[in-house]
């Protein structure tokens, strides 16, 4: 704390003896009115600058004077000469006077990676994501970030992503500041983020700032587009298995706008065509759809409001007419975020957010007179107030308070046989309050030394009503404790210090280091070897302690060839406590009439590794190479005889190469390659016979490793002609006229060399002992062979 106070004093002392002025405002795109996130405002003569926040707002306090101010965004630069002898509010529409000054941009904007304190943090532009070859032509943000070092997928077809050895529940996924609990469609084949509705993506995998919390491993911040404030527009795409459509336009020109974006797959229609009407499985189908909506309105120069929402649903149906067996499995997210930006002054920015998140999963089945329904889900009601105080160019302070009311339904079951209703207990709802206060200060101590220090204090109240089942011995009755509404059952709290530092070296290089301590009050438990929507989110309770842990990292960042190449090497160590797993032998139905946490066991984990990253951001050829060496282990007293075991997503090597080449204005080509050490799993080591059956004894947990995963994807994009020839009505001459309809064809091939990557392995037996044809073998299941696809995108 003393160090933080000292740094504050140093930072505030900057403006003690000089006459100062503040320039502040919003940066927007001149053609659409969309705010620009991460744009740079820079004054070359005094080498001072700042970056716009997630709402496009900037504030820069400097010695009074007349300056040429540069606005830089996405490889372009614009300049304005401004009198800054007094405080100035300057909202700027970027794109009015564009100069393609790549060299300048390379020298200034591209140095952000070595100048900022950000470590373990990657901003991906949506254009970069769209340049990566996409599975079945469907651009996917989650899949794109899995090409980054330190980030991996569970497996082909697995839900979620894993960051630096953390579980998929340890990633805070935010869509316009609202939490997304399950960011996947179709068991992870597609993410819930429609790329047409997304403006920017920011991944924080280390050195998490204090304004983020509640998760231990990473933050994936996804910001939606706001919609065109200038004119109405439509864009969309027709693909092999899905199509999408986006409509946007002004609510009132330059004041407010809307965007509506929807997607739907038609796998169900393809399946309907493929399965004959008289087939016993003719009721089998699957589809998903999702819808994004965002409205924003500028109430005054100081006030803006935003309403963002997402609704998506997956529905799998399975029917077997012969057995009169019918199953429906719907699941999905509903998310709403309402935000209000207010400027108290040119230095003090406030954002108030109210959020609602609803995730549900259901399983409804019937056979003959039997019926069975299972539901689980989460509802979050949240609110937060965030302040940013731009004290001076050397000092930016963030502080705020965040609150979430969680309502978890880990499982709710009902079952009937004719008139008889089975006793499946009451639906377990677990209610809790999660609160956090934070303060973070970003300080330039010297030109070389920069610090972002913060402190977060989080609290968690597990409250009634709640039914606690205390199990008896096998076959014996349990004891039941009933808590009433509002009863405080358990209280947890803790301090979470965060710090990240940068020391600039000569030759466009810097050394960065970070430390972050985190508490996490929600958990994800899985019975399966792969992640599924059936995985159960479970909160901290009187029995389940919050996950907690720390991560330290250090990195060397350097740019080459006049900043055309960015590179970094990072080393990290992560320690995790109070992790949960199901006890050995637990079955899906065991948590009916019971608390799920009675089936859990608790342990710890650790992960360490190194990440190498080389990126080329400019020129005809762009892309990156990432390599990660890592080791991730878990230790649970009651699992694996109390010995450490590798996490199922422990990967020693992970290599990814992404490249995009713009051949000319119309043709561009993309290539992506990934190589990863195979996932671990638990297989039987022995067989034996008991009764009439051959049974297996399983070995040490995750002691078997699958074959390595590798894959090459390619794509080619052909843009339609931008201009057409028309006769000038006055002169009769042929002139070039810009087309209203922009279109492109994307041809892609997934898994070019048809690698049979392992999805999972299992031990199979076939035949009969006594007839001599009995055989035990290990089988590998592969999901995707080579898959070509074509997508047509359009915009007008």
């Amino acid at each position: 704390m003393k160090i933080i106070l000292l740094l504050l004093i140093i930072a505030f002392s900057f403006n003690a003896f000089t006459q100062e002025s503040t320039i502040s405002g919003y940066l927007t795109d001149a053609s659409s009115g969309e705010v620009l996130i991460g744009a740079k405002v820079y004054i070359p003569s005094i080498k001072k600058g700042t970056i716009t926040n997630n709402y496009g707002f900037y504030s820069l306090t400097i010695p009074s004077g007349v300056y040429t101010v540069e606005f830089r965004f996405s490889g372009q630069i614009e300049k304005q000469k401004l009198d800054l002898t007094k405080d100035v509010r300057f909202d700027y529409e970027f794109g009015q006077d564009v100069q393609q000054l790549e060299e300048v941009v390379v020298n200034a904007h591209a140095e952000e990676n070595i100048k900022s304190t950000k470590i373990g943090q990657i901003d991906l532009k949506i254009a970069e994501i769209k340049a990566i070859p996409a599975f079945m032509g469907e651009v996917d943000i989650i899949k794109a970030i899995q090409f980054l070092p330190g980030v991996s997928s569970a497996a082909e077809g697995g839900q979620g992503f894993y960051v630096r050895g953390g579980g998929p529940d340890q990633n805070l996924v935010l869509l316009d500041e609202a939490t997304v609990y399950n960011a996947s469609h179709l068991f992870g084949f597609f993410s819930v983020f429609n790329s047409d509705a997304v403006k920017s993506v920011n991944l924080i995998k280390g050195g998490m700032p204090a304004n983020f919390g509640g998760r231990m491993s990473s933050v994936l911040e996804v910001n939606m587009n706001e919609g065109n404030k200038k004119r109405f527009g439509v864009k969309g795409g027709l693909g092999a298995i899905s199509s999408r459509l986006t409509v946007e336009g002004p609510l009132k020109k330059d004041k407010g706008s809307f965007i509506v974006s929807g997607r739907r797959t038609y796998i169900d229609l393809l399946m309907k065509a493929a399965i004959p009407e008289d087939s016993p499985f003719s009721g089998t189908s699957y589809f998903f759809y999702d819808l994004n909506l965002k409205l924003n309105y500028k109430l005054s120069d100081k006030d803006k409001i935003f309403l963002s929402s997402y609704y998506g649903k997956d529905l799998f149906s399975f029917g077997n007419k012969e057995d009169d067996f019918d199953v429906k499995m719907p699941w999905g997210n509903g998310i709403v975020a309402l935000r209000w930006n207010h400027l108290f002054s040119d230095k003090l920015f406030m954002n108030i957010t109210g959020t609602f998140t609803d995730y549900t999963f259901s399983f409804i089945s019937s056979q003959d007179q039997f019926s069975f329904t299972m539901k689980s889900g989460i509802q979050d009601w949240g609110g937060k107030v965030d302040f940013t105080y731009f004290a001076n160019p050397r000092n930016k302070i963030k502080y705020g308070v965040q609150y979430t009311h969680h309502i978890f339904t880990p499982i709710s079951v009902s079952a009937e046989s004719g008139e008889t209703v089975f006793d499946t207990g009451v639906a377990q709802k677990i209610k809790s309050h999660e609160t956090a206060f934070y303060v973070a200060d970003e300080i330039d101590v010297t030109d070389e030394f920069k610090v972002n220090a913060g402190l977060r204090y989080s609290m968690f109240h597990h409250v009634g009503p709640f039914t606690r089942y205390i199990p008896g011995a096998v076959g014996q009755q349990e004891t039941i404790i009933q808590y009433e509404k509002g009863d405080l059952i358990k209280f947890y709290h803790g301090l979470e210090p965060r710090i990240s530092m940068r020391y600039a070296l000569k030759n466009k290089a810097s050394i960065k280091a970070s430390y972050a301590y985190n508490y996490q009050y929600v958990h994800l438990t899985s019975l399966s070897a792969v992640s599924l929507p059936t995985d159960i989110w479970y909160p901290t309770t009187d029995k389940v302690k919050p996950q907690r842990g720390w991560q330290a990292s250090i990195g060397y960042f350097m740019n080459f060839l006049e900043n055309k190449l960015e590179s970094s090497v990072e080393f990290y160590y992560k320690d995790m406590r109070n992790l949960i797993e199901f006890k050995e032998g637990v079955l899906p139905g065991d948590n009916v009439n019971d608390n799920t946490d009675n089936l859990l066991t608790f342990g710890k984990g650790w992960s360490y590794g190194s990440e190498f990253f080389l990126k080329k951001k400019t020129g005809k050829l762009t892309g990156w190479v990432g390599y990660t060496w890592s080791k991730t282990e878990r230790l649970f007293e009651t699992l694996n005889d109390g010995n450490p075991f590798p996490a199922k997503y422990d990967r020693r090597h992970d290599l990814s190469i992404v490249a995009n080449y713009d051949l000319n204005k119309r043709w561009s080509f993309g290539v992506a390659f990934i190589y990863a050490t195979g996932n671990t799993l638990t297989l039987p080591t022995s067989w034996y016979v008991q009764g009439q059956d051959l049974l297996y004894e399983y070995g040490q947990r995750n002691s078997t490793r699958m074959a390595p995963y590798h894959r090459l994807d390619i794509s080619a994009t052909l843009k339609g002609k931008e201009f057409k020839e028309e006769k000038d009505p006055d002169t009769g001459e042929l002139i070039q006229v810009k087309k209203k309809l922009k279109s492109s064809w994307v041809f892609s091939v997934y898994n070019v060399y048809n690698r049979a990557n392992p999805y999972f392995l299992y031990v199979d037996n076939d035949g009969d002992f006594l007839s001599g044809d009995f055989k035990i073998s290990v089988k590998q299941v592969t999901l995707f062979p080579i898959i070509p696809s074509v997508t047509w995108n359009f915009e007008f």
């Binding site: 499995m329 076959g475 019975l527 899906p588 034996y688 059956d693 040490q700 999805y759 995707f784």
Partner: protein, 318 residues
């Protein structure tokens, strides 16, 4: 029914995408263990089979199966008052009644069983024949190691009634239904087995040579303690390759079926529940690897189980 969640997920993938091939990978960790398969039923002598677990890649031919049974152990059963050492026997030297009992345990036709030599342990001493309400302790000494287990033969709960019902729109094929009143405020676990005793016109012998279990033959009263309700089971012999899909698992009109409805203690149920789960979900990525929790102490695999069966006969007519 809950297990259907994982089955359905598996089916989705199998149906939509997957292709499968055999691979050879290193699976470390095999340790040879003694497997004890013992049971005692009301009015019958205990039967205990001993074998050894094998490496997952070990040969699986007939000789490997026969050689997996071990001899030379000292096996005793005690009812708390009397302790009896069991005698070694081999399947090619058994009485017809003993052969039938062993056939039911192993699932091998008695005629075939009498031609091979599978050895185990039993006794003719009626002091340790199964009796309701008694607990029986099994002790096995093998190669210097001692393994023990205790099981109870709990009081049976007979079915109120059983009947056959055609599975509409079928008229000549259906399931066997039963009505059960579960005793209130006590733990109860059940096992359902069936045997079609109608004579097969081709062989002149009963259609089923011994009692057979279908998928998921055990259940406990966690969800219906004290309730009276109907339930049905399919025909475990009705899944042969020659049986058309439309009538698979159904009993045929006119057949005479004997139902063996047994009860067991909680630890036996726990073992059998996990066992049938492993059989149903083995290889399914959506299920956790299930090691079966033996009720035997000392490091062996397997089960020592007491059952208290009651028998009912149903003729498959409406």
């Amino acid at each position: 029914m809950m297990k259907n969640i994982v089955y359905i997920g598996f089916m989705l993938f199998a149906f939509l995408f997957s292709c499968t091939k055999e691979v050879k990978i290193d699976i470390p960790g095999h340790k040879e263990k003694l497997v004890i398969d013992g049971q005692i039923e009301t009015g019958l002598p205990p039967i205990v089979l001993l074998s050894l677990s094998r490496n997952i890649y070990a040969p699986t031919d007939v000789n490997a199966f026969l050689n997996s049974f071990v001899q030379g152990a000292v096996v005793t059963v005690s009812d708390g008052n009397t302790t009896v050492q069991l005698d070694e026997f081999c399947s090619d030297n058994l009485s017809p009644a003993e052969l039938d009992q062993l056939a039911s345990i192993l699932g091998i036709e008695p005629a075939l069983l009498s031609t091979v030599s599978i050895c185990g342990y039993t006794t003719t001493n009626p002091a340790v024949f199964g009796a309701v309400g008694k607990s029986y302790t099994l002790t096995v000494n093998y190669q210097g190691e001692t393994y023990t287990s205790t099981t109870e033969i709990v009081a049976p709960t007979p079915l109120n009634s059983i009947w056959w019902k055609a599975d509409a729109p079928l008229t000549h094929h259906g399931f066997v239904w039963a009505n059960l009143s579960d005793p209130v405020n006590q733990y109860d676990a059940y096992q359902w087995e069936s045997r079609i005793i109608s004579i097969d016109t081709l062989t002149g012998a009963p259609k089923d040579a011994f009692f057979k279990k279908t998928r998921g033959p055990v259940f406990d009263d966690e969800f219906f303690d004290g309730l009276t309700f109907d339930f049905f089971y399919d025909n475990p012999s009705g899944y042969g390759e020659s049986v058309p899909d439309s009538i698979r698992g159904r009993y045929v009109y006119g057949d005479t079926v004997v139902i063996k409805f047994s009860k067991m203690d909680a630890k036996v149920y726990e073992y059998l529940e996990k066992k049938y789960t492993q059989l149903a979900t083995g290889g399914n990525p959506f299920a956790t690897p299930t090691n079966i929790p033996t009720n035997i102490e000392g490091g062996a695999l397997g089960l020592w189980a007491g059952f208290s069966p009651v028998y009912d006969t149903v003729i498959c007519v409406p």
